[in-house]
Amino acid sequence: MAKILIVEDNEMNRDMLSRRLERRGFTVAIAVDGGEGVAKAHSEMPDLILMDMSLPVIDGWEASRQLRADPATVAIPIIALTAHAMTNDRDMALKAGCNDYDTKPVDLPRLLGKIEALLPKSPTSPPPP
């Protein structure tokens, strides 16, 4: 079962997203700021990280850079989540080392598609015909 680390400071968003992902069979770990996000990435070794960009302590971009700079976490796919629906947010996220990008409010089916695309073996994907 794939483990997803959600780094999100807003409690409601965090709660909602974690519950929705859990319902779909993912194991969810939680971090409430960038610093905790980096720490949890090391301790939990998730299969994928959903990273909010506007975070306290250290922001999502900086957290992503730190994760990418560390050989232990370099391979973990990161999807950036941000409320700013601007192209440069995506570019900034990709530059910071994120693998993909999505906007908030979260469009769950779209986000799931991106998660599946980045996981080595999607737990929810149906077997090929």
Partner: protein
């Protein structure tokens, strides 16, 4: 000259001269006639006197001769008393001198009677008369000579003296008269002349000439004075007018100064007001932006939890709750849309909206947009027609904003049209020396009148207040779209009639110029510099139109271009951009093409770049001598230029760009291979999945795999499963070309690993080529950026 000199005499002298001359002439005439008369009278007197003297003498002589015919006693001495008689003689009938008298002291002589000279002088009178007795007997002849010279001299000398004296006196008198006359005659004229002189010299119109009589001169002087008076009056009037004008001008100047001062004050006030307004507006905008952001976070929660609850309700079969939740979700999404629009608008107003410029494929964008909008179009049973030529190519602009604009227009068209037709048409046109991309959304909906159209693009107004409630929407979309287009140097316009549908036209430059936009621009250098599948072309030309045409032509063909407007910029870009080909004009201001060519050849890292001369000039020898790779003359012809470009586009770049074609049907494989070869792409063929795997194992590292699904031995699905665990192979983009009618699930599976699925026989050649180009593009981006060094494929 003499004539002229005479005319230079003053008038009074002329007058005096005239009077004297007239006087002299009349005196002379008078004297002459008087003299002639005097002479005649004098002669007459002399003759009468002589006659009477002669008669007296003759009577005496006759008596004497009768008595004594010898006449020796004739007494002529009595003649002594007459001073004028100088000689006298008496002759006998036989011409014998009987007596004679000669005035003493004179040298007279007595001639023979037959030789008496003819009387010729007026002062010497000679007579010879016969002497006869009273009975008629011839007694002899009497000769007499009188000299009246003295007499005449006495008489005429006095007359002449008198005349001279009278003449001189008359002249003097004439002069005096002239002098006195001129006082009345010439003096006014002289005064007039003096006055006129003064007027002419000193412009003194105050001068007046004293008036004088009622004659011509008087009239002249009066007229002159009148004229002067008129002139003086006019001059005075003029002076007054001039003074008035000056005063007026002065007043005007003062008024202007005051006005300027006022304007300056007002402008300053206005500036302050504008600054204040701007600041207020910015504050408002940033407040809105911040608020919008703050609003989005709870919206996020509302939508998210509603979705969760909806999922729960649907799972539990609680249809009524699910329906209510759907309504909540719909309302929340609408609210989110509003917030997003307000956020966009406030960003634009605050000047915080940025342009992200990149090169993107128009057809891809259109496909995305049309598939996004499709559900909304279907909702009101409308038909969506997309009219976009596969050759439309790419453009350089802000893709996100163009996408949003098109979605906006299409969503509007869908809202206001029912059971109709919505057309999205994309085209290019060349105008004003540049290429424009024209995007038109035409619907057959309710349309608008003029007044509605006028309000259309203004924020917070919609065609009708009731439309908002009926059709939904914020009314901000069009205002935002127009702003987006204007940021990119274009515009959105509308044409519509009530009941006859509407056409919205978006017009943006195919190559948005960052410099023209006052907005912050973020250029995607990486995207711009990304090597195009066919190569990077640097165009050096001073003609804007050439850039427009070439950029349009070349980007369409899959080249990426950079523009340099002069030789210096060209040299700089050649160093920085490392183009695969340079297209160079010769006739340019400043540094000409020949110089650029030879300098490029002198730069080591540029020396190998093929340079194609494209010019009006006919000088191939020179071009080739300087090292040009090819030489083309303007006007630009695609048929000539493109093959030349294809020939010189650096072949090493594509040597490594191999595409693996996995297809078991030979004709189909042949078709794809030929297509790729034409494009200059190296191809590795495989008849099934197994062969393809073997090829990969043998070290072929394609930039792309074109894969059939149904094949003998190993099919496409199995092949994909096989390559997935492999770190390198799993990254190779795969495009599926298959005749298999795929189930949604199968498509979903493939999607995660496959770039795109083409249905055999139904795909456009261009679409497949675009995929190939993009892969090559990506491949070029990832390879080490050493110019000219072909990356070695993984062995």
């Amino acid at each position: 000259m003499e004539q002229a000199d005479r005319f230079h005499l003053p008038f009074r002298w002329k007058l005096t001269l005239l009077i004297i001359s007239v006087c002299a002439v009349s005196l002379l005439a008078a004297f002459t006639s008087y003299y002639v008369y005097e002479v005649l009278r004098f002669q007459n007197d002399v003759n009468q006197r002589l006659e009477s003297t002669q008669r007296l003498l003759r009577e005496g002589l006759v008596a004497n001769l009768e008595a004594d015919p010898a006449g020796g006693t004739l007494a002529l001495n009595a003649l002594r008393n007459d001073d004028t008689i100088v000689a006298a003689a008496v002759y006998s009938p036989e011409n014998k001198l009987l007596a004679k008298y000669i005035k003493p002291g004179s040298n007279e002589f007595i001639p023979l009677p037959q030789r008496v000279p003819f009387n010729l002088s007026t002062t010497r009178i000679v007579t010879i008369k016969e002497l006869r007795s009273p009975d008629g007997r011839f007694l002899g002849k009497f000769y007499l000579t009188a000299d009246v010279t003295k007499l005449a001299a006495d008489r005429f000398g006095d007359a002449l003296r008198g005349m001279v004296i009278i003449f001189l006196a008359s002249c003097l008198l004439a002069m005096l008269v002239a002098q006195s006359l001129q006082r009345g005659l010439s003096a006014p004229i002289t005064a007039l002349a003096r006055a006129a002189g003064r007027v002419a010299q000193h412009q003194d119109y105050g001068v007046r000439v004293r008036e004088h009589g009622r004659d011509d001169i008087g009239t002249l002087i009066r007229s002159f004075n009148l004229m002067l008076q008129t002139i003086q009056q006019r001059t005075a009037d003029l002076e007054v007018a001039r003074k008035n004008a000056e005063d007026a001008r002065e007043r005007l100047r003062e008024a202007n100064e005051q006005l300027e001062q006022k304007v300056a004050e007002r402008t300053a006030e206005l500036e302050r007001a504008v600054t204040a307004a701007k600041e207020a507006n910015q504050a408002k905008s940033s407040f809105l932006a911040k608020m919008s952001h703050e609003l989005r976070t709870p919206m996020n929660a509302i939508i998210g939890y509603s979705e969760m609850l909806l999922e729960d309700a649907t799972d539990a079969g609680e249809d009524r709750t699910a329906e209510d939740l759907r309504k909540i979700l719909s309302a929340a999404r609408h609210l989110l849309g509003l917030i997003n629009d307000v956020l966009d608008l406030s960003k634009i107003e605050a000047g915080k909206m940025q342009l992200y410029l990149e090169t993107f494929d128009l057809q891809t964008l259109v496909h995305e947009v049309s598939s996004t909008i499709a559900p909304l179009v279907d909702k009101r049973k409308n038909q969506l027609v997309v009219n976009c030529a596969p050759s439309i190519g790419s453009m350089y602009g802000d893709a996100t904003k163009i996408r949003q604009t098109l979605l906006n227009l299409l969503s509007n068209a869908s809202k206001f049209t029912e059971n109709g037709r919505i057309e999205l048409k994309i085209d290019r046109e060349i105008a004003d020396g540049q290429v424009w991309v024209i995007m038109q959304v035409t619907d057959t909906g309710i349309g608008m009148n003029e007044e509605q159209m006028g309000r259309l693009f203004r924020a917070f107004t919609q065609a009708d207040a009731s439309t908002a409630s009926k059709f939904g929407g914020t009314g901000l979309g069009l205002a935002i779209s127009k702003q987006f287009a204007q940021m990119m140097g274009g515009d959105v316009t509308v044409r519509s009639k009530p009941g006859a549908g509407s056409t919205f036209t978006v017009r943006v430059p195919a190559r948005v110029k960052p410099a023209k936009s006052p907005y912050t621009v973020v250029e995607k250098e990486a995207a711009q510099q990304a090597p195009a599948p066919k190569g990077r072309v640097l165009i050096i030309d001073d003609d804007e139109a050439v850039h427009a045409v070439l950029t349009n032509m070349l980007t369409r063909e899959g080249y990426s271009t950079r523009d340099a407007r002069d030789g210096k910029e060209g040299l700089r870009l050649a160093r920085e951009y490392h183009p695969d080909i340079v297209i160079l004009d010769i006739l340019m201001p400043g540094m000409d093409g020949w110089t650029v060519l030879s300098q490029l050849k002198a730069i080591p890292e540029c020396a190998t770049i093929p340079i194609i001369l494209l010019t009006m000039l006919e000088n191939k020898e020179m071009g080739f001598a300087l090292g040009a790779a090819d030489y083309l003359t303007k006007p630009i012809e695609a048929e000539k230029l493109l093959p030349v470009l294809a020939r010189h586009a650096a072949p090493h770049q594509r040597e490594s760009a191999t595409v693996l074609v996995v297809e078991d049907d030979p004709p189909s494989r042949e078709l794809v291979v030929r297509m790729l070869t034409q494009e200059g792409v190296a191809v590795k063929e495989a008849c099934n999945g197994k062969e393809a795997l073997e090829a990969l194992q043998s070290g072929v590292m394609p930039v792309m795999i074109i894969l059939d699904l149904v094949m003998a031995e190993m099919d496409g699905f199995e092949f994909l499963r096989q390559i997935r665990p492999h770190a390198e192979w799993s990254k190779i983009p795969v495009v599926v070309v298959s005749s298999l009618d795929l189930s949604t699930d199968a498509q979903q599976t493939l999607k995660s690993q496959v770039e795109r699925i083409f249905e055999k026989g139904r795909f456009a050649r261009e679409d497949l080529l675009r995929e190939v180009r993009e892969s090559i593009n990506q491949h070029m981006l990832n390879r080490p950026a050493a110019p000219g060094a072909a990356p070695a494929p993984a062995a």
